[in-house]
């Protein structure tokens, strides 16, 4: 099956300073293929380069080296973004909009036709549990409600590829359940989900395959069942126990 996204020898150097000679090498030599129709987890310690990979995939940043494709086309082709949903880890929406206004605004910019958008906005607000607050300004929303709204806006175009960057941030128990349901539903309808998360229980429960990024490189890539097996004994081991030595290697 054609992968929905590929990274070939991708590197990203964030230049700083007046002449741009100093900076941070966020990722280097990344080779990744994200299989279609799967839930793909991106794991790694803080500042490992997970969000950088997401940004490169969405053309929010440009790679310093290597090539990236998205839905079969080079990332510079922005038209493929119409088939992608993205939920940002620390989303700030314009506080003067209501939830309904925001979804119409973002849906319009995702090129969803008006007649499709109207019923879908209502449906999504119900799905994320904001239907009763749909006409309130976002300035009155809690962090968890903003995250729910972020999830709704990522689903406006019924994406083929849904990218969730730390989606559980600020969500309560019910919110997390909604998120899990959404991911399961998206997978069931054939969409691919990229999940960046530190919540290992959810990763373990939802992901089919994961890549562990440490120090800007892919430290390990595997199917979830294989990852949760001790390579020597074949016995199941918890995800935390698998990740800890990988993370520590990166720190040292």
């Amino acid at each position: 099956m054609t992968p929905v996204a590929t990274f070939e020898n991708v590197g990203k150097f964030y230049a700083t300073g007046m002449l741009g000679r100093t900076g941070v090498q966020a990722v280097k030599g990344i080779h990744l293929k994200i299989p279609s129709g799967s839930v793909f987890g991106l794991l790694g310690p803080n500042r490992a380069g997970k969000t950088t990979l997401v940004k490169l995939l969405l053309t929010l940043a440009r790679p310093s080296e290597g090539t990236i494709t998205r839905l079969g086309k080079p990332v510079r082709d922005k038209s493929t973004l119409a088939r992608i949903g993205y939920m940002h880890e620390n989303q700030h929406f314009p506080r003067y909009l209501t939830a309904t206004e925001l979804l119409h605004f973002y849906g319009g910019l995702t090129l969803v036709p008006g007649e499709t958008l109207r019923p879908r906005v209502q449906l999504l607000l119900e799905q994320v549990g904001l239907a009763d607050r749909k006409n309130e300004p976002i300035s009155q929303f809690s962090k968890g409600m903003v995250q729910r709204l972020g999830l709704a806006q990522a689903l406006l175009n019924q994406p083929e590829l849904l990218i969730l960057d730390e989606p559980t941030e600020g969500l309560d128990l019910l919110g997390r359940k909604t998120l899990r349901d959404v991911i399961t539903q998206q997978k069931a309808r054939g969409a691919t989900v990229i999940l960046v998360s530190h919540v290992l229980s959810e990763v373990e429960q939802l992901c089919d395959r994961v890549a562990v990024i440490v120090g800007g490189k892919v430290s390990r890539e595997s199917n979830m069942p294989d990852l949760l097996k001790d390579p020597k004994t074949g016995k199941p081991i918890p995800l935390e126990q698998v990740l800890q030595p990988l993370y520590e290697r990166g720190v040292s």
């Binding site: 969405l58 973004l81 993205y86 939920m87 989303q91 314009p94 506080r95 003067y96 910019l109």
Partner: protein
């Protein structure tokens, strides 16, 4: 480039900017200020400029009330000659203040309009709106706010241009409310509907748009409201100084200025926006000469036939387009 998508984005961004202005109460503050000016105009009346009846085909003649000949002949004598005495009383604040003018009703109203368009709107108004709208772009460009929008299938430049045009549309609405409102109020109270005054609307919007383009560039570079406020105001002052300096040197023909210095001055003049010239354009569009004191150097330049209003305006508009192009290019290449 997908033009329909870009146009759609611009329309969405213009709508969003209006909502933003409503949420910051800026819309209502400006509406309130226009309301005060309109109320002031409703308090104005003009009396005492009754004219002699005209025979068919007769060309009206008049002398200002303070003219020497009026003093010599006396008012009765002048009227007997069939010549009107041009003088009126301008009542402000429902008659609280009274100004005696040597002008007729039309000129008395024009005098007020010039002060309102030239001083209240073209200087104070533009300064205030530049300050108040300076935060729109930095807020919008905050990474936590714009990241999701940049992941949409729309060109980045169209987001920026849409926001810029949104602010311009917002200023256009307020300029229209202010100018048309005061024009109608003065018309209702005095019977004078001088349509020249309406020319102030496009001139005010263009003046604002030229300097706001610089604010947009600062916003893309720094994402700081403070830098946008002070940067654009300082830039306005620098441009005014350059504009005045160039005209003063042109008029007085300073002998000490080297050819290199003169060339540099000319390059700066034609490259940078020219707020003085824009004031002058408004001044002459409203036929303000004789109603409000103009800048001596500018008037001399105009009298010498060396002022090129159309070219000056086009050069300033070209500057704004270049600023927007640089800002769009910068946004296009910025990593978020």
């Amino acid at each position: 480039m997908n033009l329909p998508v870009a146009l759609l984005t611009i329309v969405w961004m213009v709508r969003d900017t209006f909502r933003q202005s409503l949420s910051t109460r800026l819309f209502w503050v400006l509406l309130g200020l226009s309301g005060i000016c309109i109320a002031f105009c409703l308090s104005v009346s003009v009396t005492g400029d009754d004219k002699l009846p005209l025979s068919p085909g007769e060309i009206p003649q008049g002398l200002p009330a303070d003219d020497e000949r009026v003093k010599e002949m006396g008012k009765e004598g002048v009227l007997k000659e069939g010549v009107d005495i041009l003088g009126s009383k301008l009542h402000l604040g429902f008659g609280v203040f009274e100004i005696t003018t040597a002008r007729d009703r039309l000129d008395a109203v024009r005098f007020l309009q010039i002060w309102m368009a030239g001083v209240a709107a073209d200087t104070a108004g533009i300064f205030l709106v530049l300050i108040w709208t300076a935060g729109f772009l930095p807020t919008f460009l905050d990474p936590n706010q714009i990241t999701v929008l940049l992941a949409k299938p729309v060109p980045r430049w169209s987001l920026l241009v849409g926001k810029y045009l949104g602010v311009l549309a917002f200023v256009f609405v307020h300029a229209t409310v202010f100018v048309v409102g005061t024009w109608l109020a003065l018309g209702v109270k005095t019977g004078v509907y001088d349509s020249l005054y309406l020319l102030a609307i496009p001139l005010l919007v263009i003046h604002f748009g030229i300097f706001y383009s610089f604010s947009v560039l600062l916003a893309v570079w720094t994402r700081s409201t403070v830098v946008c406020v002070f940067g654009s105001l300082l830039f306005w002052v620098i441009c005014w100084g350059m504009n005045f300096g160039r005209h003063a040197i042109e008029v007085h023909d300073l002998p000490g200025l080297s050819p290199v210095g003169r060339t540099m001055l000319e390059v700066s003049y034609w490259t940078l926006p020219k707020p003085g010239d824009m004031n002058l354009n408004l001044y002459y569009a409203l036929k303000a000469k004789g109603f409000a004191p103009g800048v001596k150097e500018f008037e001399k330049l105009k009298d010498a036939g060396k002022f090129q209003p159309e070219l000056s305006l086009l050069a300033s508009i070209a500057f704004a387009l270049v600023m927007l192009a640089i800002a769009a290019r910068e946004l296009e290449s910025t990593d978020y």
